[in-house]
Symmetry: C3
Subunit: 461 residues, 3 copies
């Protein structure tokens, strides 16, 4: 039939899947089953409504990041985020989707431009009633699937902006995002959801712990290395400068938005809602998603106490993210306590990962690498416990995607550094990107306390 | 069939309900009716999508509360809220749902642990196509219902955090919430939605004016009494210290989130969307919900003018909440002007209740008790006017649940006070829970004006 | 059948439409089609879920506006917005819907009060199973349509509050909004969606570029002229005083909320989801909506650079709005690149329009007139390119609605000025409406920098 059905068939086991399709397709045999055209309705609703919630995650990342940076950079991160969402959508339309999904050869799809409804759909919209059967047999409307895939690209891109906040140049960042969303992510997607080589080996990643979140995390890590830490973050005496979030309620709002959006991210990744088996599975997915996030919060708070020596709100908030990332690779188990365990471990690896990043002097402003890369890898491997994943294949997927994304991203960041520079000047960093690059301040009327280190430095100069 | 069907049957009248079920179950008799498997799809969408919006209400409470407290406590209230949502979800999974819904004896369900999909659902997911009929006959997927019930528990818990903000100890609060969501709320639920004694008497509470909102309100009132008012709130000379919200746009955002989420709260409480009667009823529910909130806003603004002597934004915002709480017990009437009246009265009783709380020297930071307890009681009694409720039974329900929740909560707060203390020290209260308990500030870069009373006190000491 | 079917039939072409209806209505002929009662379920879900997202846009406007004004007016704009949403809902219930949709004579519907479910629906809810067929034949539940129409009125009203922020009197504003939502907007709606004279001429406006957005824009423009610019905005020496937004992250949040809500605004305006043709069309609508917004962002940023001399976040944010407004008149094209072009031009006309407003000394605080009126007119004319609209008819619609709304609004604003005044006193404007009209401050604890001009003036006085 088509690629989504293939992906669903792989997930359900071929037998049950085709039985379901036949059951529904043969009228009279099972009159109480979902008619084919109703299935298209259900599947389309699922893609559109859950997809809209995934778009909403972009607002979540924006709030999380804007609240996490210092006030002098809180506007530019808003521009980076609305820009990256726009770029991702346009790039995926112009080329990305085709690279990822159209006639994937094993490594990559086709290099063609633009995408649109099927010929049958256009005929139907033009009034050709005879096209109905063909449209219905596709199982979902073509562009509802495109919409759902598009919002996923933006999520991968969002991860990068947080890690590199407060010092990456605006236009270099946009250039990187264009390549990430037009080419890098689609290639990873072609290997997996597009039906390429990793998919053929049996790699499982339900909604993208590795494909989306680790991909974003690796791109962020490469950027962190090339762009370098913020001025004064790691002091000569080995101490780490505290850079607390400038607006905690806004960070919290961001996390709630992400949590809500994740119901769409994981729930919609069931890719269908046209029959009992999908309705049951999607419900389990939402329950597991919520339990993993809840467990991530409590585990991260508990772990942060010995590691950071305090009840740590930010650990709790990021624990939710890490729990969500961890469950994303396999949120469809029926023994829900496993979701609690996987989410809790996600929260713990985040907290430990955050400490390790600090020790490695890698400056990740919002903890994107531990939350998305590390927890994503954990979640992908955990599928071996709960989803029957093959450990060798899962590990291979994590590593292959990691190496590919990291190396290409590193090269791209270096290239950008040579060509146009990736880091703002010391002066810009000191006065903040908001006033230096945008000519505005995020909160122009509030009296802001000067950064103690900046004051010290200004005094000396 | 099962408990949701029973609840729906009670609501619709047995005759119509079973007629609908039969109409749909007999193929050929009514070919244009909704096939049974499609009904499962519609019902599951309703639970999942509306349930996701109810989860979003937790973000609404967080914003409402974080903006309402003073800046020095704006972070800890974020932690309390994301923590309570996590605890509520885990506690309801481990024990709460079973106490509330599984084999309810009249007073309580079973003390068993964990919850999961039905055996038929697991068989279906494992590929046993023969299980489809059994899964479909349940009417909805088991965990979609669990998800919808779970988000309701969190709402009850959210109400408590606002009332006790700025002085309750973090871990004592979490301890209380654990018992509230694991035991107290489930027992109230067992008496009513679970089919227990109040349900058998004919008590009506569509989406939980009393079961959810008054329960949260009584627990909050008990806490307010035991924990006591904030230092200096009620002065020796009888005057009340003004403690304005620290971030009004964030409070407003919270109210809009709650309003949106309430469409899920009330709309999803129709519990089904599998046929015309449910689709019609759910539409009426959303319309009434919106009209009641709108009327609550305008009534509260109008009432606040004589009572508080000014056009009061906070009264307007809380008027929306009170109108929503009031309509929640019976949002399915077909004469929509009643929704306007019930919501308007909700807005008025909130405003009056707020004044009474002040006169009683009860310090409820966000007005949770008047908005949820008082307006909830009003709404539950109003069902006698619009929904055919029996006044004696409705009153009995309001009182029985009120006494039970208030007494148990009071005992629990006292117990916590004796064991670990429920109130932060004077020093912590003075410098704020954010820096004292969490080691961060909500807005660390903004220059904050010192509290006039604190300055005075420091000067003296 | 009924008005929604008529509107859908006009849009789809009569042939295809009735073929679809018949296909579905005749059992046995096409067993895999969507049964009629399921269609009602799909259509109702579409109205309710997408309608809830449109309500959410009101929160978006509130955040956009509250972050855009100076801190001293950030609370009163919150009250204006929650008030206007409440008033709009009540006014549309009491009279507006009937004027717009019930027995439209060409120019206006009927002057009757209140609205409610159909008699068939009430019979069904009362247990009369025989009413099912009649309810189902209507295609959707009556009040689900009402709900969806109601949230649109509020959008039109929201546009006005932003333009007139910081100086319009609260109660005069509410009076204007009452007439706008009870009478002015419903008359425009009667001419078009209600089936009146413009509709009969073939005027096309899918989700309301002109009907909703330009209507709001014209009402705002009239208000801007009568109320006048903020004190000191346009200086005697010809320079324009910079009034930067007081809270940029909150403005950004508002734009993301609007973007999300617009999926409901345009997607729900397909008005049906009961068959393949609607599912396909709705998917295309969401994709085009997103592409137009994304293109609007990038085009506005690019255009703002030469015009305003900087990378302009606010242009980018408003570019999204302008792109969304522009695509709203015809978001159902199948060649998606046209959405990119239409949205990009929307972003450009916004930026240019913003500059023109400044040159005309019209003070529009949030750029509502360029974003909604100008981009809305562009979008309505662009339907001639992509949707087969007749240029003469489209232009006539834009002008007729523009003249009607502008003239009536101007007269109403003048009347209010004579009767009660529309503008706050100089003193209130100086100290801000928050403390002067509401007695609260939006951010009472933050130390706020005084306005340089105010300081200067105070010094002189």
């Amino acid at each position: 039939m088509n690629r989504i059905f293939d992906r669903a068939a792989r997930r359900m086991g071929q037998g049950l899947f085709w039985a379901t399709v036949l059951l529904v397709a043969v009228p009279g045999e099972a009159a109480a089953a979902v008619p084919a055209e109703s299935q298209l309705g259900f599947n389309t609703i699922s893609f559109l409504v859950w997809g809209a919630l995934v778009m909403w995650m972009c607002a979540g990342f924006t709030m999380l990041e804007s609240g996490s940076v210092r006030t002098k950079n809180a506007s530019v991160i808003c521009l980076k985020n609305i820009g990256l969402y726009s770029i991702a959508g346009l790039a995926f339309y112009f080329i990305g989707y085709n690279l990822m999904y159209v006639d994937v050869s094993g490594w990559i799809g086709t290099v063609t431009f633009l995408y649109g409804p099927s010929g049958d759909e256009m005929a139907l919209l033009d009034g050709d009633e005879g096209a109905t059967a063909a449209v219905v047999s596709n199982g979902y409307s073509v562009m509802s699937d495109w919409f759902f895939q598009m919002v996923f690209v933006a999520t991968a891109a969002s991860i990068v902006s947080g890690a590199l906040a407060e010092r990456v140049k605006l236009w270099s960042f946009f250039a990187f995002i264009t390549v990430l969303t037009a080419i890098i992510y689609p290639i990873v997607g072609a290997w997996t959801w597009g039906g390429g080589w990793l998919s053929e080996m049996g790699f499982q990643d339900f909604a993208g712990s590795t494909i989306v979140h680790s991909t974003g995390g690796w791109a962020a890590l490469a950027g962190t290395i090339v762009v370098g830490a913020r001025r004064g973050k790691f002091r000569a005496d080995g101490s780490v400068k505290s850079t607390p979030p400038s607006n905690v309620p806004v960070v919290t709002l961001g996390v709630f938005i992400l949590w809500l959006g994740w119901f769409g991210f994981n729930g919609g990744s069931q890719l269908a809602l046209g029959g009992a088996v999908d309705a049951v599975a999607m419900s389990n997915v939402l329950v597991n998603t919520n339990l993993a996030a809840a467990a991530g919060v409590m585990a991260a708070i508990s772990t942060a106490r010995p590691i950071f020596g305090r009840v740590d709100l930010l650990a709790g908030l990021n624990g939710a993210i890490a729990g969500l990332v961890a469950i994303t690779a396999g949120p469809d188990m029926v023994d829900h306590y496993w979701a609690v365990i996987i989410g809790a471990v996600g929260g713990i690896v985040f907290t430990v990962g955050m400490k390790v990043m600090e020790m490695l002097k890698l400056d990740d402003v919002v903890g994107a690498v531990p939350a998305h890369l590390v927890a994503g890898a954990w979640g992908t491997l955990a599928v071996c416990i709960t989803g029957g994943g093959d450990f060798g294949v899962q590990l291979l997927g994590v590593l292959a995607i990691g190496v590919f994304v990291f190396v290409v991203s590193l090269a791209l960041w270096f290239l950008l550094q040579k060509m146009v520079g990736v880091r703002v000047s010391e002066t810009v960093e000191e006065i903040g990107q908001d006033s230096a690059e945008l000519g505005i301040e995020a909160y122009p009327e509030f009296v802001v306390m000067p950064d103690a280190d900046d004051v010290e430095e200004l005094r000396r100069s």
